[in-house]
């Protein structure tokens, strides 16, 4: 006999919980859903576009009635639960339907707040909450001319905009002097008001409603100052209140909302609650993202897995009101203890304000250009010390020259055919269409369905903006608070700590010890776990080839046609005639179709068949060459200029230094690819200032630079320090490299790692603390003892993994 689960409230939060539950276990419960509205579950966020005539009700259905049938969920639509007998565990609907439950889920949502002024119950006075309200508004727009919207918040402005687009003359009445004052400061609110006025909306600010006048229908609204305005329709949009009527009636503990704990349980342990009706740690949420986070945790407990706690959400608001990009998060007003950075360009319609306290972001409000909203939000959530990046903070994350999305930074200004994601050719129209048709809510959903921002990721901010401007409300979770992958709830940081604390020495044992949800992990977590194991316990950890991406398993770069490329190491970019002759002969022998000089000063042999790899490697080994690791999350190359040996400007022997560094660091595995360069003078011909570790020789010694990269987003290095001796260059290089290897998350290059922890932190460990620097450097040297073996030789002649390259059989 299956247990019975009853859901009261057929809305987004409740149904999301059911969907999450079915994903975890679709056998556990008989599920029954009661909904007051006569529909399936629809996307309430998209009511505004329905009102504006851009979408139909069918467009915004999330679970139509067929869905309930297909998933064996019983739906009682048009039925309101009026009582719950908690002793007998039964719910009772207004039409007398009764249903027993073993567990009950409350998701009664919220009610619009109606100001109790005289006349508030006249026909023609409505709220903006459900499909019924939208129908009433559309009906009114056909028959009547004038509308008044009371409330200049998000919902009110969206309603006003919709009614205006339906041809009505709309006046927005607002109690305060700033529109959307919970999301905007006075300047941004003023810009918004001006822009909306230009589009045809009228505003009455600082205006308090006294009465609604009319006999059988609303005729006018009278204000406290005695003035009146004629109208045929009044929309009350002054806020929402958690709907706790039923919960209070059945004696559940309620304050502003139904009080729940971190597992979304009410004070009756058989009754759970999610969504806008709940109050969790004193907060009630009205945005979709926190509701979905609650749904996930609640489903987990309903499925009796008993892991996962909901600890509250930090929300940001990133809204679209009639094609205007807005973003706000945190405390964007500030007080006498805070500082602010402000940028305003009235002509371009751009305003940004960041509020800081002790160099940490407390809040931000942006208008017009919100592409960096997600970045500020992340810095805010992480509590990142921004003193190192203060100069560039206002200019945004991309100010150093971003590529990939055509320089667009305002989604609202883009037309549907403009490309958002340059890697995968995804237009704005593709994204908005997928969101509407497939019912997508999050960046992950959009990535999975459209591939937008799924490759290089440089357009992530823009994609988030498009999601926000389509859905009207959005949130972002900072990267490292996210679970490592779908197989676990642990973050990269949790996992790194667990490896050390529990002495985990392989990816497979880690998955067991850390209660992975899947038997074998996935292509995301296995390589990460394998890396964390070998970096924590070099020599001891089991390096699992099956947990490595093919490039690192085959020690060659897979190409789009399934062939491979071979890049022999060329120490410091220096070669000689005999090496070149050998490469030429090998290229001919194996009929290599393309020979190319790489950006890292070596030679790439492209188009090699997999079974030729070991033979080619043997020939290269015989000519004295080893693997260049051009395929791995590892030390790639050390690029050099010719230095003082030849160059008339050279101040030090940069080539020799480069070779020394490469000999020390080759073979080391990293969180991501890692490049070094050494320039012989500040002219910097080796481009050392866009490398992970860059050395620039000056007359008095060596400058050490860190955290640079070319590529998707060019980032110039930060100066770490200046040293005078060669030994110091080597020790600092090894120490920095080891700190990065131990602390960065897998697949973070040095740039995002340094941006996360701050340059000051790195300096503290590497420059200021000689003891720690030596320890790090020593640990690197120790680790290298285990990894400086040529993987090509091991496979070509050493008998390692030979099966990898041989077909099982020919038939």
């Amino acid at each position: 006999m299956k247990e019975k689960l009853v859901l009261i409230g057929n809305g987004m939060a409740g149904m999301r919980t059911i969907e999450e539950l079915l994903k975890l276990d679709d056998e556990m419960y008989d599920i029954t859903v009661f909904g007051t509205e006569p529909y399936g579950n629809y996307n309430r966020i998209l009511l505004s576009p329905v009102l504006a005539g851009e979408k139909t009700i069918d467009d915004i259905m999330l679970n139509d009635e067929q869905w309930y049938i297909d998933n064996n969920v019983t739906l009682h639509k048009n039925k309101t639960i009026v009582n719950v007998d908690r002793k007998k565990q039964r719910v009772i609907a207004d039409d007398g339907t009764e249903e027993p439950y073993d567990r009950l889920l409350l998701a009664t949502g919220s009610n619009p707040f109606i100001i109790p002024v005289p006349g508030h119950d006249l026909p023609g006075v409505i709220s903006f909450r459900d499909i019924h309200d939208v129908d009433l508004m559309l009906e009114a727009a056909e028959k009547y001319k004038h509308a008044v919207v009371i409330g200049g918040g998000l919902l009110g402005l969206e309603a006003a905009n919709g009614l205006m687009l339906q041809g009505m003359n709309v006046t927005v009445v607002h109690l305060g002097d700033v529109l959307m004052e919970r999301q905007m400061d006075a300047v941004a609110g003023g810009m918004l008001k001006q822009s909306l006025e230009e589009r045809g909306l009228n505003f009455l600010m600082n205006t308090s409603t006294e009465a609604i006048i009319g006999d059988d229908r609303v005729k006018a609204v009278r204000f406290k100052d005695g003035s009146e305005i004629v109208t045929d329709l009044v929309v009350m949009a002054v806020g929402i209140r958690p709907n706790i009527e039923l919960a209070e009636k059945i004696g559940l503990h309620c304050e502003r909302g139904v009080v729940v704990n971190d597992t979304l349980q009410t004070f009756d342990p058989k009754i759970y609650a999610v969504g806008e009706c709940v109050q969790h740690r004193g907060e009630a949420y009205g945005l979709v993202a926190p509701l979905f986070e609650q749904a996930k945790v609640c489903a987990n407990h309903l499925a009796k897995m008993g892991i996962g706690l909901y600890t509250g959400s930090v929300t940001s608001t990133k809204l679209k009101v009639t094609g205007i990009d807005l973003f706000s998060a945190g405390d964007f007003i500030g007080d006498e203890t805070t500082e602010e950075i402000v940028m305003q360009d009235a002509k371009r319609g751009i305003y940004k304000k960041i509020v800081l306290k002790d160099d940490k972001i407390l809040g931000a409000v942006m208008y017009g250009d919100t592409v960096d909203g997600a970045w500020y939000f992340q810095l805010m959530r992480d509590g990142t010390d921004t003193s190192d990046i203060r100069e560039g903070l206002m200019l945004g994350q991309a100010h150093l020259g971003d590529s990939g999305h055509g320089g667009h930074n305002a989604a609202a200004a883009m037309s549907d055919d403009m490309e958002v994601c340059g890697c995968n050719g995804v237009t704005k129209g593709c994204i908005t269409k997928a969101i509407a048709e497939k019912g997508l809510f999050t960046l992950d959903d959009v990535r999975a369905h459209t591939k937008a921002s799924a490759s290089c990721g440089s357009c992530t901010g823009l994609v988030e903006q498009v999601i926000a401007s389509t859905l009207g409300g959005d949130y972002s979770v900072s990267e490292h608070e996210k679970p490592l992958c779908k197989c676990t709830d642990m973050t990269h940081e949790d996992v790194q700590k667990a490896f050390k604390a529990q002495h985990l020495t392989s990816a497979l044992s880690a998955m067991k010890a850390l209660d992975w949800r899947t038997d074998d992990g996935c292509h995301v977590c296995r390589p990460a776990l394998n890396y964390y194991a070998i970096v924590a316990f070099p020599g001891e950890a089991l390096d699992d080839p099956r947990s490595r991406f093919i490039n690192e398993r085959a020690h060659a770069n897979i190409q789009k046609d399934g062939t491979y490329s071979v890049v022999p190491r060329m120490w410091g970019g220096v070669t000689n005639p005999s090496e070149l002759r050998a490469i030429a002969e090998i290229a001919e022998k194996y009929e290599v179709p393309t020979v190319k000089v790489t950006g890292g000063q070596r030679i790439d042999l492209l188009g090699v068949k997999k079974d030729d790899l070991p033979k080619m490697w043997k020939d290269l080994n015989d000519a004295g060459m080893v693997s260049g690791h051009a395929y791995g999350k590892s030390l790639r190359t050390v690029k050099t200029c010719v230095g003082k040996e030849w160059c008339r400007f050279g101040t030090q022997d940069s080539t020799a230094m480069g070779i020394k560094l490469e000999q020390r660091t080759w073979g080391s595995w990293m969180p991501h690819k890692y490049k070094i360069a050494v320039s012989g003078c500040p002219r910097n011909c080796a481009e050392a200032t866009i490398k992970d570790f860059g050395v620039v020789a000056v007359d008095s010694g060596w400058e050490l630079h860190v955290g640079g990269n070319g590529g998707i987003k060019v980032r110039v290095t930060d100066l770490l320090c200046k040293v005078t001796s060669e030994e110091e260059v080597i020790e600092y290089c090894q120490a920095f490299t080891q700190l990065y290897r131990e602390e960065a998350y897998y697949l973070d290059r040095t740039a995002p790692w340094i941006e996360r922890v701050g340059l000051s932190y790195v300096k503290e460990k590497i420059v200021d603390n000689a003891e720690l620097r030596k320890e790090l450097s020593d640990r690197f040297v120790e680790s290298q003892k285990h990894f400086q073996t040529d993987p090509w030789a091991e496979r070509a002649t050493g008998g390692v993994e030979t099966n990898e390259f041989i077909p099982l059989k020919k038939i």
């Binding site: 038997d519 292509h523 296995r526 991406f549 099966n803 099982l808």
Partner: protein, 102 residues
Amino acid sequence: MANWIEIGTVEDIPKLGSRVVQGPDGDIAIFRNSKDEIFALKDACPHKQGPLSQGIVHDKTVTCPLHNWKIELDTGVVKAPDEGCAGRYDIKVEADKIFLSI
């Protein structure tokens, strides 16, 4: 009538790994998962013909090495939200020997 061809033993294929059988109509990827189940798929992802034999195997799935499409090992069907199907072949194990039918 299925024509079973012996192609090797279970031990020839690494756990959570794959080996290639060169067939008359192109390569066939033979997979072994952590439960020692054996599967055979056409060694070409329906997306851009990536060699599935080079992907990471987890549970009953292989992730294509080129663009991370996920393909079900027992059916060849691509996991949502991507769509498509890599051809599958009948395969059986008898006394540790693997037989393929093409």
